[in-house]
Symmetry: C2
Subunit: 338 residues, 2 copies
Amino acid sequence: MQLSAGKWRRLKSLTDEQGRFKMLAVDQRGSLRRALSQAVNRPPNQIPPEALTEVKRLITKVLAPHATAVLTDPEYGYPASLEHWPPRCGLLLASEGTSYERAKGKGRRSRLLENWSVEKAQRAGADAVKLLIYYHPEASRDVRLHQQQLVQCVGEECASFDMPFLLEIVIYPLEGSGPDSAEFARQKPELVIRSAQEFSQPHYRVDLLKLEFPADLKWAREFSQGAFDGKERPSVYTLKEVRDFCAQLNEASGVPWVILSAGVDIEEFLMQLDLAVEAGSSGFLCGRTLWKGSLAYYPNYDKMEEWLHTQGVYNLLRANAHAARALPWFEHRKFLQK
Amino acid sequence: MQLSAGKWRRLKSLTDEQGRFKMLAVDQRGSLRRALSQAVNRPPNQIPPEALTEVKRLITKVLAPHATAVLTDPEYGYPASLEHWPPRCGLLLASEGTSYERAKGKGRRSRLLENWSVEKAQRAGADAVKLLIYYHPEASRDVRLHQQQLVQCVGEECASFDMPFLLEIVIYPLEGSGPDSAEFARQKPELVIRSAQEFSQPHYRVDLLKLEFPADLKWAREFSQGAFDGKERPSVYTLKEVRDFCAQLNEASGVPWVILSAGVDIEEFLMQLDLAVEAGSSGFLCGRTLWKGSLAYYPNYDKMEEWLHTQGVYNLLRANAHAARALPWFEHRKFLQK
């Protein structure tokens, strides 16, 4: 299986010289607005769009020089951050609208950003297009079909422009259990693995998967006494089983894959990254885990920048070091098969 | 309090440009011989000196390019490794003999390497002299006096050559409890802190302390379910208390300090390093945690070198990243006082 020259060349501009992804995400919109609103104790709709733009500009300015590529959004992030783009730092642009629609049936429906397209991303200088979809293999049939068709549609548009297609899959609890529950922690491995399997099928034309870590380490026996957040939880699996989930995920992913942080604290993320890299991941694309600590200072932009220069850079440097043994993407078995 | 120009200049050659120590230790003798003997299932005295030399040469060759300085011994390590010394990589030479003498009273007595001196280290090109002593504040009086006099003697010799003096303090259980016991884990903070306090006194003329992590993380509640080695243990303190021990150690240390690894696994060491750096440490000087995994391949030197090039370098790169926020040594409060 081979890539077009255009996809190949653009994918190469997202990695370090060895083909490893050490990428910064700053394309958040809804979750960023909520975090800023918490910092000032006001409702999210009172956070002005200019604040999102300024925060994204600051994060990009300080952290981009240490990343191999940055994912941002074309609305708030890219225009104002452009002046800070370092030479040889790749650009990924988000193509989905923020949040999701609660379906009539069971599940979540994603939608595309309005007035945006792969063609426009290409013209704007993007090296890859990213689509985030919420996915649950047990969502109602029409929700699943909607999500699958959305992916296929973006996949085809990307292919027609030789634009690399990065698909981010976010799983969710269908009903009942909250995200920090033993029940959801138990379901997570299967949900992540089955979703990766689904979208590895060739007709989706995905080039790179951005996946959640396939377990919740806070519920793994060895870390269940509050290793990451001080809170004790019952254990639902062992670290050995978690390693096995990672191996299964690597098996399920038919294309190179990177992990996302879902905003966990940095120590937990570094542990996830070690385990993912050990299993065959090609690096990371993460945001909040690196820079969320700066948001508490909003709207003091000087303090935010100072935090980013010290703790933020430190977080990214550690993540980069932990990705030093990631699998170069072109060594993924997909490219080794005749 | 000021340093002589010669000490200042030599200390600077041990760090990165910001004054942080990211140093590799390969001066082990007894413990290295024992590890090699285990790899081939033979008694230690059947490991020839040439094996120590070759293993040290390999480790130095592969890892030194990623370290700001390397500590080796003048007998087995330095002569054969010299050809691999990278430019701008500092050199520390050990001055103690391996192991210790069981005292007639309670405790352990260290001794100096025979036919060796600070003057010889200076001639050989060393940037610092290291002395390891075993110490227990409750050892019998003559043992304590012996250890203290040894330190003072080397301190004076160093001063007379403007040679930086690095003192490594290793604590031990006096009687009864083994090193991996709840009792010793409980004693460790006080033993490390009191020893650092003792040798921070100006008459010892120590420039840099190499200290043990002041707690055993395997016995800290949050990690006690086998986070680092799969073995469950009762909890003897919390992570919050461990942070407090680190702060107390920083308070006790009257000179810049770095931590040693005592051969723990890399994940545990990185966690120790984060906590030490947070408390005010200036970096690390560690060996086994970085390269012990290579010893299992002895006597297959090709396999050892391959392991060092992949996992060994990866371990050191991660440790370097985790030391990125260490306190530059010249910002230690010792140099800020008038």
